[in-house]
């Protein structure tokens, strides 16, 4: 297999899945709005700031608006459904024909992830801007410079791949158990708190902040948001990017090992 042949396959996968995702654009808007946790938390924290003389631990209502809309946007870019897709397809036996193709199935799921984002993100941006416009002063508080924005994009690409390969590992669990999607829910519960979707991590107790440094979740939402809002600069940004790359490598290797041992257990349904 040479690079040109693969490039052709990738282009085909991208255009096939892009048209698939465009059909479901209305559903995508509904799913986007269903991810209400950042919106709810924004309202709750703004309510708290208003009753406590305008700010909580240095965050004004406008700061909370800017923070939570950046969190919501980041969430839209990193959300991954691959655990559910794998679970469904392995159980229904739909994985079998994919295994016969001369390309590892991970690519198909990966392009599905990528095309979903290509449709979702352009629709998410106006909603986030609308959210910012609703909170007085939030648009002004949300003014990333070009450098910060480009670094944010880089960290977002790493974060989206981290989440994708972590979800892929969880999906692979369904070679052993039919509870893979329930385990993916665990990830979601943990991500809400550990990823800073509930509140900026600086409002957490110190021990929790220290502990969370050792988990993947802050690197998927919290730190990309901090880069976007300009709270991190220089070496701190580099450190975040390196840790993200390390987590990505870890989840990728884990998914390769798990995939190969899972396939050995795969008795195709209906075959």
């Amino acid at each position: 297999m040479n690079l040109a042949a693969n490039w052709h396959k990738f282009k085909t996968l991208y255009s096939v899945w892009l048209s698939h995702m465009l059909i479901y654009r209305a559903e995508l808007v509904v799913w986007m709005l269903s991810g209400t946790v950042p919106w709810l938390m924004m309202v709750v924290w703004i309510g708290k700031a208003q009753t406590e003389g305008g700010s909580v631990a240095g965050f004004s209502a406008a700061d909370f608006g800017a923070y939570f809309m950046a969190v919501w946007l980041t969430n839209q870019a990193v959300v991954a459904w691959v655990a559910w897709e794998l679970d469904f397809q392995i159980r229904q036996g739909e994985l079998s024909p994919k295994l016969l193709r001369p390309l590892d199935p991970v690519w198909e799921y990966w392009f599905r992830h990528l095309t979903e984002k290509s449709v979702r993100i352009p629709m998410a941006i106006p909603l986030a801007v609308a959210g910012l416009a609703l909170v007085p002063g939030a648009l002004a508080a949300f003014t990333p410079n070009l450098g910060a924005f480009l670094l944010f994009l880089l960290s977002l690409v790493l974060a989206a791949n981290m989440r994708f390969f972590a979800a892929y590992c969880i999906g692979i669990l369904c070679f052993w158990t039919d509870q893979a999607t329930a385990i993916d829910d665990f990830w979601f519960f943990l991500a809400v708190f550990a990823g800073g979707i509930f509140a900026p991590l600086t409002l957490y107790p110190q021990w929790a902040q220290d502990m969370l440094q050792w988990t993947p979740w802050p690197y998927i939402t919290y730190y990309p948001v901090q880069i976007l809002n300009g709270a991190l600069t220089g070496p701190a940004v580099l450190r975040v990017l390196l840790i993200e790359a390390a987590w990505l490598l870890f989840f990728w290797l884990l998914s390769r090992v798990a995939w190969h041992s899972g396939l050995r257990r795969y008795g195709a349904v209906g075959a």
């Binding site: 709005l33 703004i46 509870q179 829910d185 665990f186 943990l190 509930f198 509140a199 107790p205």
Partner: protein, 270 residues
């Protein structure tokens, strides 16, 4: 005479409910590992929700007039309602759309029983019950710490809780019933329930506009905040009346809407 007919009809429906429940439960007891995984999930959800509440109260100031322990009652009631929805409502009402789409609703309409009863009671998902148990535990834990808790207040709270569950059922039935016209409604249901996540906080924490919306448009306030107010003994009498009235109205309107929808049902194949 009318008394015995009344008794017979209710006896029949209760017997059927018990039968449906035992059939669902024995089917699901096959999967013990699922129960373990789902219980871990319930505990994880409760712990992370609590940790979040702790962060929200991090500077020790009360929120919207609620102390941390008082707000815990709301969190516990919310977990209880979530478990109820997952265990009793979702496995039934989410199937109405499918029944309309595939025409399998015909089999229900042909049975000599009330169709609304049948679509609402056939399945129970016992794996979601741990959510409710954790919720009840949280409520009890919070109530024993609070001063001035009276038995009357707690009983009133339980009664209002029942009103809240009735409201949730009626609203969900109406949403699911729109499937007779719109066929694919699961996503819309998802969107409305995501608004219900706001019920994990006392509504007074929220800014006034949002509070009004969550009281009168999507009545989230009645499922957790109002029963909690009764339990901790600070409820306004007007809220008791409102909760009962909303529950009655939702029940009657959803019943009427369901029958109206059935009249326009033409089955999938004809």
């Amino acid at each position: 005479m009318s008394n015995t007919i009344f008794g017979n009809v209710f006896g029949k429906y209760f017997k059927l409910m018990a039968l449906f429940a035992s059939a669902s439960i024995s089917a699901q007891l096959e999967y013990r590992f699922n129960f373990v995984v789902n219980t871990i999930g319930s505990i994880l959800l409760a712990v992370t929700t609590f940790f979040g509440l702790g962060v929200l109260y991090g500077n020790g100031k009360p929120l919207g007039g609620w102390s941390f322990t008082e707000a815990s009652v709301v969190v516990g009631l919310f977990l209880l309602v979530e478990g109820f929805m997952g265990a009793f409502l979702a496995p039934n009402l989410n199937k109405i759309g499918e029944g309309v789409r595939t025409g399998s609703l015909d089999f229900i309409l042909l049975k000599p029983l009330d169709a609304q009863f049948l679509v609402s009671s056939r399945n129970i998902n016992i794996f979601r019950l741990p959510d409710s148990l954790v919720g009840i535990g949280v409520v009890i834990w919070a109530l024993v710490q609070l001063p001035d808790i009276t038995l009357g207040g707690v009983l009133l709270g339980v009664a209002l809780m029942v009103c809240g569950l009735v409201i949730v059922y009626g609203l969900w039935l109406m949403l699911a019933t729109t499937a007779f016209w719109f066929v694919r409604v699961e996503n819309m249901t998802e969107l409305v329930w995501s608004l219900f996540r706001a019920g994990q906080f006392p509504v007074t924490v929220l800014p006034p506009v949002v509070r009004l919306f969550l009281t009168f448009v999507v009545p989230v306030a009645f499922i957790s905040t109002v029963p909690a107010e009764a339990m901790i003994g600070r409820i306004e009498p007007i809220n008791v009346v409102l909760a009962v009235v909303v529950a009655l109205v939702v029940t009657l309107v959803s019943r009427w809407f369901w029958r109206f929808a059935l009249r326009s049902y033409t089955s999938a194949s004809s």
